[in-house]
């Protein structure tokens, strides 16, 4: 029997392993240099980059919840120019493929960030974070509306020839319609999920704990929600799906692949264990050997046909 291979093609991006670092928790990677083996990461999705610097939210920005964490960092970032000058050169030396997560306050901003990254060496793809608050629509995120999502994705698509990932927010009634809109607008990959909106209250001060009141929930607490959305979206679109949300083990990652994900990303899990990508990659290979499969394509979405399909 031949040796299992963990290589996948994610919307035109060839990855040595199906495990990526999700945008945000990993920052721009360099801080993790001594903590993990970059060979175990297929790709790194850089922290959200906007055209101009964004200051981020007032502190506190982090709170812990049962098996998860709430963050309200507020997409704090140094802006496109500084990202290109300071962060990208270090990022592309780490080894894994680099995907840049782009953010904006309006459609034009998103398109300008994409245009600004054209011709720059060492970028394998762009990921549009459609969870940003749309200032024109009173702060509701673009990703809550299929039409707005279509507009953002189409505008970016016109500016870039790079593989385009569209990262969906789970804070919607119907994730499938948003995914379809993104695909129609030219997405090469649907990436999901972003954080779930939530809050906690400080009972001593009798006010919201986070400086921004509301934050985004990530970590193991959200995994079942993420898994179901990956399941639903992978049934509805032709393009590959990048699954994430609460992954902290190889078995979590394998669940996402069986639900229909081509690859997976880990975010908050890196806080608990920076060595997670190596453990997941190793665990996936061991699982493939055990189940006698040599290519991940044999596993992708297998749960849809393997078991009984139950609609919820």
């Amino acid at each position: 029997m031949s040796i299992p291979s963990a290589c996948v093609n994610l919307g035109g991006i060839e990855l040595d392993t199906p495990v990526l670092a999700a945008s945000g928790p990993f920052g721009h990677g360099r801080e993790f240099e001594v903590l993990l083996d970059f060979n175990s990461l297929g790709g790194i999705i850089a922290k959200g980059v906007s055209l101009e610097p964004w200051p981020g939210n007032p502190p506190p920005r982090i709170a812990e919840t049962a098996s998860g964490l709430l963050n309200a960092v507020g997409l704090h970032n140094p802006g496109l120019n500084k990202f290109i000058e300071d962060d990208l050169p270090l990022l592309r030396e780490l080894g894994p493929k680099i995907i840049v997560n782009i953010i904006g306050k309006n459609v034009k901003d998103y398109a300008s960030v994409a245009a600004g990254l054209n011709g720059i060496e060492g970028i394998s793809g762009l990921e549009i974070n459609v969870s940003c608050p749309n200032l024109k629509a009173g702060g509701l995120s673009f990703g809550t509306d299929p039409d707005l999502t279509y507009c953002v994705v189409a505008a970016v698509r016109r500016e870039t020839a790079l593989p385009l990932l569209v990262k969906l927010t789970p804070n919607v009634n119907d994730i499938v319609s948003v995914a379809i809109a993104a695909e129609e607008a030219g997405a090469d990959v649907i990436s999901l999920i972003n954080t779930l909106s939530g809050m906690i209250i400080d009972i001593e001060k009798k006010k919201p704990f986070l400086g921004n009141r509301f934050g985004g929930l990530s970590g193991p607490a959200i995994m079942p929600v993420a898994l179901k959305m990956v399941w639903q979206v992978s049934e509805a679109v032709q393009v590959p799906v990048l699954g994430m949300g609460g992954i902290t083990s190889a078995s979590d990652a394998i669940q996402f692949i069986l639900a229909g994900a081509r690859a997976v990303a880990v975010g908050s899990g890196l806080f608990y264990d920076p060595d997670l990508p190596a453990k997941i990659t190793g665990g996936i290979l061991a699982y493939m050997s055990k189940h006698k499969v040599t290519s991940l394509s044999e596993l992708e979405g297998l749960a849809h046909t393997g078991g009984d399909k139950v609609e919820v």
Binding site: V34, P59, G198, N212
Partner: protein, 273 residues
């Protein structure tokens, strides 16, 4: 050619060599952690991971390095068992291991003769290390609400050249008053101030030191996730915008960091990231 910045911290499994509850609810843990002790500077901290056996998904907790014995690779942390994380960490027994990430952050500059060290409550932890790092004449004001919370063993503070002034709000040990009230008496004759404790204390000290043009450094706390400067979760407002407590701090020049802790109005409805 790789031009990566070499980081000087690491994540290691470190055996617990000693555990002591110095007072009810206050735990002092000693580790064999040569990877941390070699480079550790006063004011730096470690991220302590939860015991693997707990099976719990909880963020590592930041604790100041309270002292080190470089020769024997021993590292001490000292903390109040205040919440779920501290509780779990305080259950480990000598012989078992915990993962420590460190040394992290920027510490205090070296104190000169005539320095005033001010600790409020658990703010004592990094100041023990700082006090031990020199033998020049220096004064430590150690304040607490009440005697039962003055958890740092007195012998840890019996150091050559160090004058210790204890103060409790209820007068149950040492002078009666707040650390700040006592500190204000000492500040005019001090060469510099080094402080760690509640924000209000730090803010008052910063003001008192600034009035007399005396240099002051404060160690501030914020909730952390990564501890290494990646996630931007531990922001504190400074003269240069938001900075990271874990990487740019935790020690800041008192005049440059906003210690008022007043949070402004928020506009972002969706919260997130």
């Amino acid at each position: 050619m790789k031009t990566l910045i070499k980081q000087d911290y690491s994540l290691e499994n470190c055996p617990v060599t000693e555990k002591l509850f110095t007072a009810t609810g206050f735990c002092r843990l000693t580790f064999y952690a040569p990877s941390v002790t070699t480079e550790a500077q006063p004011g730096q901290f470690v991220m302590v991971h939860m015991p693997a056996s707990s099976g719990r998904y909880m963020l590592p907790r930041p604790y100041s390095i309270c002292s080190v014995d470089r020769e024997n690779g021993q590292l001490v942390i000292f903390f109040e068992v205040g919440g779920r994380g501290g509780e779990l960490i305080s259950t480990v027994e000598p012989g078992t291991t915990l993962r420590l990430l460190g040394p992290l952050g920027r510490g205090f500059p070296k104190p000169q003769a005539g320095s005033l060290l001010v600790a409020g409550g658990m703010g004592i932890a990094p100041l023990v290390f700082l006090a031990k790092s020199t033998t020049v004449p220096r004064t430590l004001i150690y304040g607490s609400r009440t005697a039962a919370r003055m958890a740092c063993p007195r012998e840890d503070l019996d150091l050559p050249g160090l004058t210790v002034v204890e103060v409790t709000e209820d007068g149950s040990r040492g002078e009666r008053g707040t650390a700040c009230e006592i500190a204000e008496r000492y500040i005019p004759s001090s060469s510099a101030v080094f402080a760690c404790g509640p924000r209000q204390l730090l803010a008052a000290l910063a003001e008192a030191a600034a009035e007399r043009d005396i240099a002051a450094w404060v160690s501030v706390e914020e909730r952390m996730a990564c501890g290494i400067g990646a996630c931007l979760g531990c922001a504190v407002r400074t003269d240069q915008g938001y900075m990271r407590v874990c990487k740019d701090g935790p020690v800041f020049p008192a005049g440059e960091v906003n210690l008022q802790d007043e949070h402004t109005e928020c506009l972002c409805q969706s919260g997130g990231n």
